[in-house]
């Protein structure tokens, strides 16, 4: 399996999805060798993890947490920085070496970053290639037919060369068909999921002492957790926040995450005159991340285009109802939540006001959402993928 990241060195949902998918697959007697582009320690016993790097390199270190550059530490002690594109090329070379040495039946590659390497492995071994798309370039660009042409070229080639394409939602499937003119029959949807038991439990005391105090004075907290990029639609959330605060002045918006839009969003909050009601926390992990959900009355995912979007499930798991845009894959599996179109700022504000104002609505969303979450499991995704593996290996054998 070719992947770009795994927890705890992940920048977002991709690593989390790969982790849980592999764990569920391992229970279906699937033997996985997971090849990462960097060197790191993992507390994982259900699969083998291999860092792909050139032979003269001692270690590859991720620098930064997002899709940033990588540091190559050579045997000689020399350190070299490589950008993302360069990294995909070096990863390809390393995977090429590994595929000559390893035995496997199927190549399963996640997202465009691993696609060059996946195509090389397919060319060398003739093994079936499954390309699993957690997002496509037009999603990341927040614009149809948009994005980096080089990335689009790699995505397009891999999708066409793949024996089977997996999309994380019908939304993503439609996007692939639209962007790359591929036959819908070649794409199978395997939704991401969540096992509520896998959520780390909350402590008695919440990390946000200030917010805890404000809540006792009748304030409400609305949280967004995600990268601050165009794709995530936070601009519209802030515009909605302006309308909400007019109706319900004691409402705070907690914005968790970082990204290229961070400064723009801070300025937007100021120009809307709501800086006092908007708190930017930056990127968080662990307890502070969990507690951000738990301290809040409502989680909002305002994404313009969200291939899946696992954070609403995490929010519900921590007892916080979710408002999500219809332009998300998770909207295809989650019923007990509020849904809105990403461009409908007033509609978003209307729903936020209602949750803040009506405890009965908050409670029903909370209870029914959690019940629905309890029925979800990564096992369902693993069963579908194991079937794909069987089909692919059988068709090769015949």
């Amino acid at each position: 399996m070719l992947g770009w990241e795994l927890p705890p060195n992940n920048s977002g949902g991709l690593g989390v999805a790969c982790y849980h998918l592999c764990k569920a697959l391992s229970k279906k007697a699937v033997d996985i060798e997971f090849i990462l582009p960097y060197t790191a320690e993992h507390d994982i016993d259900f699969m083998r993890i291999n860092a792909a790097h050139p032979q003269d390199v001692e270690a590859v270190l991720k620098s930064g947490i997002a899709y940033d550059s990588f540091k190559y530490v050579k045997h000689s002690g020399e350190v070299e920085s490589v950008d993302l594109f360069g990294q995909t090329v070096l990863y390809e070379k390393a995977v090429e070496r590994i595929s000559r040495e390893s035995e496997f039946d199927v190549i399963h590659a996640h997202d465009w970053l691993t696609c060059r390497a996946a195509l090389r492995a397919q060319e060398l071994t003739g093994k079936p290639l499954i390309v699993h798309l957690h997002s496509i370039e037009s999603d990341r660009a927040g614009k149809e037919f948009g994005g980096n042409p080089l990335v689009r070229e790699i995505e397009s080639l891999a999708i066409h060369m793949a024996d089977q394409v997996i999309a994380v939602s019908e939304l993503t499937k439609r996007g692939i068909v639209r962007e790359y003119g591929i036959a819908p029959d070649k794409i199978k949807v395997v939704h991401n999921s969540m096992d509520v038991d896998n959520l780390e439990s909350l402590d008695v005391s919440n990390a946000y002492h200030y917010l805890t105090a404000l809540r006792q004075q009748g304030w409400h907290v609305v949280v967004n957790v995600g990268r601050l990029t165009v794709q995530k639609g936070v601009v519209n959330l802030l515009k909605a926040a302006r309308l909400v605060i007019d109706q319900q002045p004691k409402t705070l918006f907690l914005i968790v995450g970082n990204g290229e839009q961070e400064h723009e969003l801070i300025e937007l909050a100021a120009s809307l005159g709501i800086s006092k009601n908007v708190i930017f926390t930056g990127f968080l992990r662990g307890k502070q991340w969990r507690d951000a959900f738990a301290i809040s009355d409502l989680f909002v995912m305002p994404s313009v285009s969200e291939p899946f979007g696992i954070t609403p499930l995490e929010a519900i798991g921590y007892g916080t109802p979710a408002l999500i845009t219809r332009q998300s894959g998770v909207a295809e599996v989650l019923q007990n939540c509020l849904k809105i179109d990403y461009w409908d700022v007033e509609g978003m504000a209307n729903q936020i006001v209602a949750v803040v104002e009506h405890e009965s609505l908050h409670r029903e969303l909370q209870i029914n959402g959690y019940r629905e979450l309890e029925r979800l499991s990564w096992d369902d995704a693993a069963i579908k993928l194991a079937n794909v593996y069987n089909q692919q290996t059988e068709s090769v054998g015949a």
Binding site: C337, L338, N350, Q351, A354, H358, S360, L361
Partner: protein
């Protein structure tokens, strides 16, 4: 032994609340008229139901009334659907009037607004029953003798009220817990009453038509009129088969393609092949047969869901808080004497609004979802409460402290 089919069809459409936002409150007081293509458009829905159900069904019923002098049935028609027919589908209203001029179609009494007022405000309940009686007299020239409460919600208190109000009968669900060892196929008398009679719906036979008819996985599919009549003829233990269902069963819940109209068309001739068989209206069956026993119903029963209680309307916190908030406005609203405001308040009492907020089976995308114009029960609640806020605003404009 002679046996009668008592066919009773319930006709109702609510005034659905449009997707009314908090930003509409204090700005627009128009709650019920969205764009024509909106999911909540009452005008579009009444057009669709008239075309798919009311017009073709009434055509069949009129033919049957003309072909079979023995054929009879009973209808209940709410004030809210009558208003909408008057405004948007007058030809469908005329088709109902054509049925009643035969003298063999009896109209049943109920609340004008299809409300649950009986459980929240007795005075409001009585006002709505009176409004409905006047509307029926005006449009159909008859005065209802038999009462049905919204959703067949029934208990001893209601039976007592109907008895005092002079009704000769009342309708309820023939739920197993009510019947105990008894059969629904007889006339009963409620406990603690003097004159009123109780007719209990035979839910198995009624639901065979209303719910299971088009279900290809049902072991009895396809259900023909001759098969259905054979079941009735084979039942020894009966004087009357109370087939109570939504009128919209014909053509709307069961589509034309299911063969439901063919079933309806064949039912009278198949049933009347046996000389001692007949059709009776609800009054007629009460006049014909003596009650065989008294029935005690302390707990409220309804005709919905497996629970047969009010939980589909009042079971969760959103539902109970919304309806409570609405009835708390009663005194202030009525005191304004503002007919527009009072009418809006009454339209908001229709039970459907609370049904749309039901979450208990939302996950299964079941029957509740089918009937709702909202994407989720939460959206239904939000729109409703925003309208409630606007009502509060309008009250405050009249100088009333809310």
């Amino acid at each position: 032994m002679s046996k009668a089919i008592v066919l009773y069809l319930h006709v109702h459409q609510p005034y659905r609340v449009r997707q009314y936002s908090i930003f509409d409150a204090a700005v627009s007081h128009d709650y019920f008229n969205p764009a024509y293509d909106d999911r909540t458009s009452n005008e579009r829905i009444i057009h669709k139901v008239a075309e798919k159900s009311y017009l073709p069904t009434n055509r069949h019923l009129l033919e049957l009334l003309r072909a079979h002098p023995e054929f009879k049935l009973s209808l209940s028609i709410t004030g809210t659907v009558l208003e909408q027919l008057e405004q948007w589908a007058p030809e469908a209203l005329r088709s109902f009037q054509e049925l009643t001029v035969t003298g063999r179609v009896e109209i049943v009494a109920e609340t004008y607004y299809h409300s649950l007022a009986f459980f929240y405000s007795r005075s409001e309940f009585e006002a709505q029953v009176q409004m409905h009686r006047e509307k029926i007299q005006q449009l159909f020239g008859q005065t209802p003798q038999v009462f049905r409460n919204t959703e067949l919600a029934y208990n001893n208190d209601l039976a007592h009220w109907a008895d005092q109000a002079g009704y000769k009968g009342i309708l309820a669900e023939g739920w197993d817990k009510v019947l105990d060892w008894r059969s629904a196929n007889y006339v009963y008398q409620p406990t603690y009453t003097e004159n009123v009679r109780l007719l209990l719906k035979n839910y198995k036979l009624s639901d065979d038509i209303a719910f299971r008819f088009g279900n290809r996985d049902w072991s009895e599919w396809p259900l023909t009129a001759s098969k259905f009549v054979k079941w009735l003829n084979d039942s020894q233990d009966a004087t009357n088969f109370n087939l109570f269902m939504d009128y919209e069963t014909f053509g709307e819940h069961q589509w034309h393609e299911s063969g439901i109209f063919e079933f309806l068309r064949m039912l009278p001739s198949e049933w009347l092949q046996t000389a001692s068989n007949s059709f009776m209206t609800v009054s007629e069956v009460i006049d014909t047969f003596q009650p065989v026993d008294r029935v005690d119903v302390p707990q409220t029963t309804t005709w919905a869901d497996t629970e047969r209680d009010l939980s589909a309307w009042l079971g969760n916190d959103m539902q109970s808080s919304a309806i409570k908030a609405l009835y708390e406005l009663q005194a202030a609203i009525l005191a304004t004497d503002d007919l527009t405001l009072i009418t809006d308040w009454r339209r908001l009492q229709t039970s459907d609004h609370f049904y749309y907020m039901c979450t208990k089976s939302f996950n299964d995308g079941d029957i509740h979802a089918y009937f709702s114009p909202y994407e989720t029960p939460y959206d239904a609640f939000i729109a409703y409460m925003n309208v409630y806020h606007d009502m509060q605003f309008r009250l405050s404009q009249t100088g009333v402290e809310v």
